[in-house]
């Protein structure tokens, strides 16, 4: 039969194998190995030491047998050799991630010569930082993700003032997405990025204590006409600078995420003054976000088009703030998350009134509100007739009562997560599966699935995620 199936048919089948079992196919026979290699476009590899001419050659040879490889993720490299070997063997790479030792500028320069089509790179680099001797050579690059690893050495500090002007300092890179992790005060070399990236749409900072050179950074923010998305994770000391600058100049931003480290005052000023028409706001700020922010959000009309509001562990927010914001954004709000926000458990009746205000809600996430009670949720669900997706993960107090109200009120519900809801038992899960017609996916522990539940799920093509 093997000879009956032509190459294209065998490859059709290979393309549908889940990634972990794909490599085994090449053990079947030489023809299959050839077919697999020529249909592979993406590989995640781990190339451990020892690195010597023999191992590196066989690694390169392996890669050259994949002529259509466009995405490569390489892990565990304790040296640059595997990366350079990989790059020289894969001229068609579009996307490269290298998790390992920091890459030197000269290796990056070499890399840019081998892989001229790279559009996305994720790498570590070390201090002293430099960009002008490699970044401009990646002419197709749209997305850059940099992890700055080592700590300072004395010599770096002394060189701070000597950022030399080179012909590349004002050349305009075409980067659209920039992600930076681990910036420290004194990383002035970043001004190369600030001076040359004018087209950024998505900007991410992670565990950054600084932005390097503040004056070039603020002109950078000012010049960003297309910024759509900003993410700040664990960046307490730079949140203020960024938000205040954006409040003054930015009108294009649609999505803002701030996790673990904000500033009460900075955030409030941003909310009061911003001219961005935010569509999505996602915050995890246990100590910094309070009621004043909620009220301010509801007063700035630029935010009235908010479609997605996600609050995680925001324990200072009260019902007054949420109701007031809810009334302003009721017409557009599609998705609401109040994850581990104790106001949900603390204020009886809050969910009911949110349900009445937010009639258009399609996605709701109330996960990890451990003491949320049936009666609170049920009276909210009575008004949420358009819900398509509901997550109740880890809500320990909820029982079968919640499930029966879902069947009654939410006739469009397709996705439900009741993982770790310890009081929802086997029999309740089976009953729900039997009575909820349009359900497409249910997340629940394997141990809560009776034989009847499994049978029903498979006959109705309901996907079970455990």
């Amino acid at each position: 039969m093997d000879t009956l199936l032509c190459d294209e048919l065998v490859q059709e089948i290979f393309n549908r194998l889940p990634p972990p079992s794909t490599p085994a196919v090449s053990l079947v026979c030489k023809r299959w190995r050839r077919l697999l290699r020529s249909s592979t476009t993406s590989l995640s590899l781990h190339f451990p030491p020892p690195y010597n001419p023999t191992t590196i050659t066989s690694f390169s040879t392996f890669l050259t047998h994949h002529p259509y490889l466009s995405s490569l993720s390489l892990a565990g490299g304790a040296a640059e050799d595997p990366l350079i070997a990989a790059a020289s063997s894969c001229p068609n790479l579009r996307r490269l991630r290298f998790w390992g030792t920091p890459i030197t500028p000269s290796s990056l320069h070499t890399l840019s010569g081998y892989c001229i089509h790279l559009s996305s790179i994720a790498i570590s680099i070390s201090r002293p930082l430099s960009f002008n001797n490699w970044l401009p050579y990646f002419t197709s690059l749209k997305s850059l993700s940099i992890f700055i690893t080592n700590s300072y050495t004395e010599t770096n500090h002394n060189n701070n003032s000597e950022v030399k002007d080179s012909i590349f300092d004002h050349m305009g890179l075409s980067l659209e997405s920039l992600s930076l992790c681990g910036i420290l005060p004194g990383d002035y070399e970043l001004s190369f990025l600030w001076n040359n990236c004018k087209k950024i749409k998505k900007l991410q900072f992670k565990s950054c204590e600084s932005v390097g050179d503040y004056s070039s950074f603020s002109s950078f923010l000012k010049s960003l006409k297309d910024l759509q998305e900003l993410e700040l994770r664990t960046c307490r000391s730079i949140v203020d600078v960024i938000l205040l600058k954006l409040a003054e100049t930015c009108v294009s931003m649609e999505s803002l995420l701030i996790y673990d480290g904000g500033s009460r005052e900075g955030l409030l000023q941003f909310i009061n003054r911003s001219k961005c028409r935010l569509k999505r706001l996602d915050v995890r700020l246990p100590l910094d976000l309070n009621n004043a922010h909620m009220l301010a959000l509801s007063e700035n009309l630029n935010f009235s088009g908010l479609a997605c509001l996600r609050l995680q562990s925001c324990c200072l927010v009260t019902g007054e703030g949420l109701r007031s914001l809810g009334r302003t954004i009721a017409n557009g709000l599609d998705e609401l998350s109040l994850i581990n926000c104790d106001v949900v458990e603390r204020e009886s009746g809050l969910l009911t009134s949110l349900g009445q205000i937010l009639k258009r809600l399609r996605k709701l996430d109330l996960s990890y509100n451990h003491t949320l009670l049936d009666k609170e949720l049920v009276s909210m669900l009575a008004s949420c007739n358009n819900l398509v997706e509901l997550k109740l993960r880890g809500c320990n107090r909820l029982t079968k009562t919640t499930l029966s109200s879902l069947v009654r009120s939410c006739k469009q519900l397709q996705f439900l997560d009741i993982m770790y809801c310890s009081r929802i038992e086997v029999e309740a899960v089976e009953w729900f599966l039997l009575n909820s017609p349009p359900l497409r996916r249910l997340e629940v522990e394997q141990s809560k699935l009776s034989e009847g539940a499994v049978k029903r799920a498979s006959s109705k093509f309901i996907e079970i995620v455990s």
Partner: protein, 163 residues
């Protein structure tokens, strides 16, 4: 095409072992191969399908009728396909992938390939060789080298930037 007359047109298909099947034209034209014949006006008499045997053709026609009875709802169609393939053994699936390819029916082709992949996923290399009738053409040294390459394929989940 005679579709405007009101009575549904029926086509007669002939398998390579000379079985005859009647099928509504509206269902049969899911096959691009048959649709082309209809459009070219050469579907009048019996349509011979030289690469499909009677048993497989019967299955394919069941599928054609079933799927064309479902209105334009991709979810329901997918459900039907999953159910249709759920009780087919490996040999039948292999015949169907060939038939779907010959008849140029992309939706059946996709579904059957996915089903074969799903069956293969959990099986040993030896099982796959037996089922596909493949002889192992590796020398022990070559086989060892392929296994060596597998050490590089990284099975960890790619770390995403979220959280």
């Amino acid at each position: 095409m005679a579709a405007e007359t009101g009575t549904p047109t029926t086509l007669t298909l002939k398998s390579n072992d000379d079985e005859l099947f009647s099928v509504a034209e509206s269902a049969a034209i899911l096959s691009v191969t048959i649709r082309n014949m209809v459009e070219d006006g050469c579907a009048g008499g019996v349509i011979p399908l030289d690469n499909v045997d009677g048993k497989t053709l019967a299955s394919v026609i069941t599928y054609m009728n079933g799927i064309s009875a479902i209105p334009a709802d991709e979810e329901k169609k997918k459900s039907y396909r999953d159910k249709f393939l759920s009780d087919k053994d490996f040999e039948t699936l292999a015949d169907m992938v060939l038939a779907a390819n010959y008849l140029n029916m992309s939706c059946l082709m996709d579904a059957v390939s996915a089903k074969i992949a799903q069956v293969m996923e959990k099986k040993s290399v030896g099982w796959v060789r037996r089922k596909f009738g493949i002889e192992n053409d590796y020398t022990p040294e070559e086989e060892a080298a392929v296994k060596e390459e597998h050490k590089w394929t990284f099975e960890g989940v790619e770390t995403d930037d979220d959280n």
